[in-house]
Structure formats: C-alpha cells, structure tokens
Symmetry: C2
Subunit: 235 residues, 2 copies
C-alpha cells in the first residue's frame, strides 16, 4: 500500500533541516533500515555528495542511515531494493529531468505503488503530482516532459504564499499564476504552505501541520481546508 509524506518545505523558519518533521519521520520510516536519497534537485546547485551528506546528518538524529542513489552502480537495482525513499528539494526541472535521463521515473512510481515509504520535500513533493506545471522554480534545464509521477491525482504548489496586500511589485501573485494554470489544465492544485504536509496511502489523504491549505479546483473559487482534513476525494 502506497505511503507518502509530502512536505511543502524541508525547513521551517528558526529550525534545523527536516527538524520539524523528525517525530513523524521516525514513525513513517519505522520499518526502513536505510533511506535511499535522491539528490538530483541540487538546491543552490550543490553537488550530489554534499547534499547526501547533509541529509545523512539529519537522519542520523533519528537513527536512520542514508545512501545517495548516485552512489549506487545500479540505481535501478537500488530503487528496487529500497525500503525507504526520500527525494529532497531544490530545482524541480532538474530533479524531473534527471529522473527521465536515468530512466528512473517509472521504477520510482512502481516502488511507491509497491508500498515503499516515500518522503518528498518541496521539489520532491512537486514531482508526486500529475505534472510539475505548478512549480515555483526557474526552468534552468529542459526536461523531456512536464509529466511527473502522478502518485496523487492533482498538482502540488509547495511553499504556497498568500498575496501581500502591501506589495507594490507587479510580478504575478501565486494565486494569479495558478489561475493561469487552470486556463490550460483541469486538475486541482493544492497550495501547501511551509510547515504543512500531506500524508497519503491508498485510501486516505490528509493535510498535516498547523496551517490550512489553499485548494484550487478548475472553474471554482479557491478555498481553504483545515489541518486533518481528508482530501481523498480531491481529483
């Protein structure tokens, strides 16, 4: 049975990397001996080794080992044998492009369907939606498609930001961008604020954290859902 923990961000203000999630991650990965880490999103362009080291240091605090998928001579085999997966944040285009390039997108989807617990933060959550078309990232590389894992039946907008009523800046607000998305796409979009995450299995999908999420459905007025709302009917 599918087990997903999809977080808006790895880090909340005033707290260490993944720290706000440690309690939940201990439970989530209780049967995972080692976490297979996918470092492809490369935040600020850091290398795969450096990123994996940072993640390993964080998981050490909850007694979990980490290996980077790039360290394996046979990444496909590593994925097939994994009993816990984490795809970290950074640039979503880069992450998706590298998954396509290494022929890992379908195997990753299969591993998730087979019930391997999957943690995503930011870009790593974004790729679980139907497409990456609601990412906030800069398109620094051109992936073969914007279609992504589709292990949830909607799109995710991580780091969701409310419009700033005092802003004099003329760049589009996040809400405007998502409304533009809905001129050309019909799937719902979950605007996930920093500090929020989704917990999903085959039967339930629940909003977690202290904040509400903003839901954008095609041809509907956007609305807020409170923490612990069951979103399993959203599609």
């Amino acid at each position: 049975m599918k087990q997903l923990l999809l977080a808006s961000t790895s880090t909340v203000h005033g707290s260490g990397y993944l720290e706000y999630l440690f309690g939940d991650l201990s439970d989530f990965f209780c049967n995972s001996a080692t976490i297979l880490f996918i470092p492809y999103a490369r935040p600020s362009g850091i290398g795969h080794n450096e990123y994996t080291k940072k993640v390993a240091e964080a998981f050490e605090k909850i007694g979990k080992k980490v290996t980077g998928i790039h360290e394996h001579h046979a990444p496909l085999e590593a994925l097939a044998k994994a009993d816990g997966i984490f795809a970290g944040g950074g640039n979503t285009f880069l992450l998706l492009n590298q998954l396509y390039k290494n022929h890992l997108l379908a195997p990753l989807r299969d591993a998730i369907s087979d019930g391997v617990p999957y943690l995503g933060t930011s870009a790593g959550s974004n790729i679980c939606g139907l497409s990456i078309s609601t990412t906030n990232d800069m398109p620094i590389v051109y992936p073969p498609s914007f279609k992504s894992l589709g292990v949830v039946p909607f799109n995710i907008n991580p780091h969701y930001l409310d419009p700033d009523p005092d802003s004099t800046h003329k760049g589009e607000t996040r809400e405007t961008r998502i409304k533009e998305f809905h001129k050309f796409n019909t799937q719902p979009v979950v605007g996930l604020r920093e500090g929020s995450w989704l917990m999903a299995n085959d039967h339930t999908l629940t909003l977690k954290g202290l904040l509400s999420a903003r839901i954008f459905e095609y041809d509907k007025t956007p609305y807020e859902v409170a923490p612990d709302t069951d979103l399993s009917d959203l599609k």
Copy 2:
C-alpha cells in the same frame, strides 16, 4: 538596423498601463503607423481580444493604432508587413509556445533583424534573450523548446527582485535561482528591476530608467550597473 525597447514590466506602481513609457514610446515608434500586437502571453488568462483592446486604449493616448496578430487571417504576412511590433507580458511559456505553434518565431526574429521597432514588456522582453530559462513564470504549458529569439546575446530576468532580509519564507530568492541557472548555462543574465528597460540597436545596448540593474555572469560575483550604462559588450 535592429531597434529594441525591452522593459521589465508594462506597469509601475501608481501609474497606468505603459504610462511610464509613453514619452519614449512616441519617439521609438515615430515611424510606425500601426503597432502589431502579440497578445499570446494572456496575463491572468485573459483572451486575445480583451488584451488587444487594453493595449489599443493605451497606444491611443500617443496617437498610435494597434491590431492584434490573431485578428489577421495571415499572421505571417501581417508580421512581414509590420512597421512596429509589441509583445506584451503574461505567461512566458504560453507566449513562446504559441509562437512556436504558429511558426512565428523565426519570422519574428527576421522582422526584428530587418529593423522593425520591437517593444517587449515582461514575457515579451524575456523571449528576446537566448532562452526563457530565467523567467519567473509558472510552466503552465510545455513549449517545444526553451530557446527563444536570441536577439540579445544573454538572458533577461524581468521583475527582478532583491532578497528580502526580513523574510522567513524558505522558497529560493531570485539570486539563488539565477545562480542555479548558471550551474547549467553560461550566458549572462540581466536582472531588470521594475521601471527599467533596455534600449538596443545593432551597435549599442543601454540600460534605461532610474534604477540600476543586476548582472549575473557565469563564474563571477553578481554586480550592479547604473542607468545609461552601455552593455553592448555583455555576452
């Protein structure tokens, strides 16, 4: 001889659509009887007719007529006969996708090379760079390529925003995003603040407006350039 006016934004805070540019636009389009408008970027998803109407109302104030390229039965012919072109802002992916789809990218490049004055704002400026990979927009449609007009030998980041030192938000700053771009691309990026524009011909390229621009060159510390700086060596 190429004649470009590439603005960061169509509208500055507290002023009407294109209003801050009216003085310069009267000079820039002094030999243009009619402006051919490209409405494909569809800000907030508005339709081509509605967008063209808004632009026509603005240009009326400086005594210029406007036709939308979508109103012409033969857009290619309209482009070949144009004596003034304006590509407005909105979504850059949509604008570029529609130019590819309608086979207008190369003809538009040719018209610019032939010396037809071209005004771009926001997305319309972004497509003049080598690629749209430094857009801020959401990838709501998948264009056949990120390669764009390349009528200036660098990339543009419109609506450039300085990092907010008081922000608690963990989404990437604009500078971080452009640094990530430079892990995979080597062309310079001009971070063009709202209220700034570039004036270019075959020999000169000058920053205009009251603000400095931030220049990002591959493997160099970003730096500021003052208004009226000649940027024709930037490549």
